[in-house]
């Protein structure tokens, strides 16, 4: 049976009629065309689909769109400023080449930002543990960890806030 879901995605109010079994990630990608959020494993293991729901990182493949009704959602598309300036965590991933093929990157960046919210200056060990829910199939973790450390310092230093949250 169709139902109407309404939420704020990257600062914009959206409302769509969807099937009740529609996953949040399907809603974002197929109904809103926000394909920056990826589907990797589709079994809540890889973290390619991580988005922020009311400021908390969640796996969008393991949440119904209906559960997010009324929520504030931030996806990778919502991080950069309107003039295109990258979020400090995105900039750090570029600077430190925190990616190889790039498929896991949106989820890595979203998880990293959530991690830094709780821990402004994580150690390497804390970063590795904090990113347990994200898998890089290229095994490019070394530079990802470096990027998150630099991103944390940039976010902390500049006091930058996550866009649209």
């Amino acid at each position: 049976m169709p139902c109407t879901v309404s939420m704020t995605v990257n600062g914009k109010a959206v409302s769509r009629e969807v099937e009740e079994r529609t996953l949040l990630v399907t809603f974002l990608r197929e109904h809103l065309g926000l394909t920056g959020t990826h589907v990797g494993c589709d079994t809540s293991q890889c973290g390619a689909c991580v988005v922020h729901v009311d400021g908390r990182s969640v796996k969008a493949c393991t949440m119904l769109a209906a559960q997010a009704d009324g929520a504030q959602i931030t996806t990778i598309e919502g991080l950069a400023a309107s003039d295109g300036t990258l979020h400090p965590m995105q900039a750090a991933f570029r600077e430190h080449h925190g990616l190889q093929c790039g498929f896991c990157t949106p989820g890595m960046v979203m998880s990293a930002i959530d991690l830094v919210k709780d821990n402004a200056s994580p150690t390497e060990q804390e970063i590795r543990e904090g990113l347990e829910g994200n898998i890089c199939r290229c095994t490019g973790y070394h530079n990802i960890v470096k990027a998150v450390k630099a991103g944390a310092e940039a976010m902390h230093g500049s006091g930058a806030k996550v866009a649209a949250e």
Binding site: T62, M63, Q67
Partner: protein, 264 residues
């Protein structure tokens, strides 16, 4: 997923009424087990009743002798709670070790214990901390709540609303986890209440159980060395590609010793 009708009641009474109206409804907590199950078409509920909008079953409060935690409280909230950290730090540690960060941001205490996965972490704390499980119709002793693999004492349509954990003098949880799923291959919760010691084991058997020989030994001498030579039998323990029953039996003693050492 097969189709279902989704409901989001605002009160416990509405949730109970919806459950009563449907023959094959399921309660949706954080969904971190149920949604993957539905995606694999391993279940086909007619209705999903999401408890996420019911304020009465959320939150953490200190009470005489322990802590009450609402059933819809997420693992991350327990892990980061100042109250839990102060009153029963072992419980915060246990919650911090469930799944990964994103799972902890969604998964709930009630969802975990009602699912009664043999490898879940919370059952060890429910029995280890002499908890009482409160539902919309009664109170169930934690000792009586878990009745088998994925089975609980809950009646059809009964909704868990909160869990009351007793504050121990000392407690710790030691877990040998599966590195991929982060479920417990074996997890042991040790809690000391005065002269009484509880040693509860998850992951090893079909359901959480108490290692009574270890409890007796630790009640006399609360040191890891007191567990030398004491092991649970491998008969009836779980065996899968991750660990044989013999290995799980071995791990129970190892994890129990680590938990005792972590009690300090």
């Amino acid at each position: 997923m097969y189709e279902f009708t989704y409901h989001r009641p605002k009160t416990l009474a509405d949730a109970a009424a919806l459950l009563g109206q449907s023959e094959d409804a399921k309660i949706l907590g954080g969904g971190q087990t149920l949604l993957p199950t539905l995606k694999q078409r391993l279940a086909r509920p007619s209705d999903l009743i999401d408890l996420g909008q019911i304020p009465d079953i959320k939150g953490i409060c200190e009470e005489a002798g322990g802590i009450a935690i609402g059933a819809f409280t997420r693992h991350a909230e327990v892990a980061h709670s100042d109250v839990v950290r102060r009153v029963i730090p072992a419980l915060a540690d246990l919650a911090e070790g469930i799944g990964d960060r994103q799972v902890r941001n969604m998964g709930t205490l009630g969802g975990s214990i009602c699912n009664a996965d043999p490898s879940a972490d919370y059952p060890a704390a429910v029995v280890g901390l002499k908890a009482t499980v409160k539902t919309d119709r009664r109170e169930i002793a934690g000792d009586d709540f878990f009745t088998g693999m994925f089975e609980t004492a809950l009646e059809p349509g009964e909704i868990v609303t909160a869990v009351h954990f007793q504050k121990p003098d000392k407690a710790a949880y030691a877990k040998f986890r599966n590195p991929a799923s982060r479920y417990a291959i074996v997890g042991v919760f040790v809690a000391r209440f005065g002269n009484e010691v509880r040693v509860t084991v998850t992951g090893a058997g079909p359901s959480v159980f108490r290692a009574t020989d270890m409890e007796t030994a630790l009640a006399q001498d609360f040191r890891a060395e007191a567990l030398n030579g004491i092991a649970v039998g491998a008969d009836g323990l779980n065996a899968d590609i991750h660990a044989s029953a013999d290995y799980r039996a071995h791990l129970v003693t190892v994890m129990a010793k680590r938990a005792v050492e972590a009690c300090g």
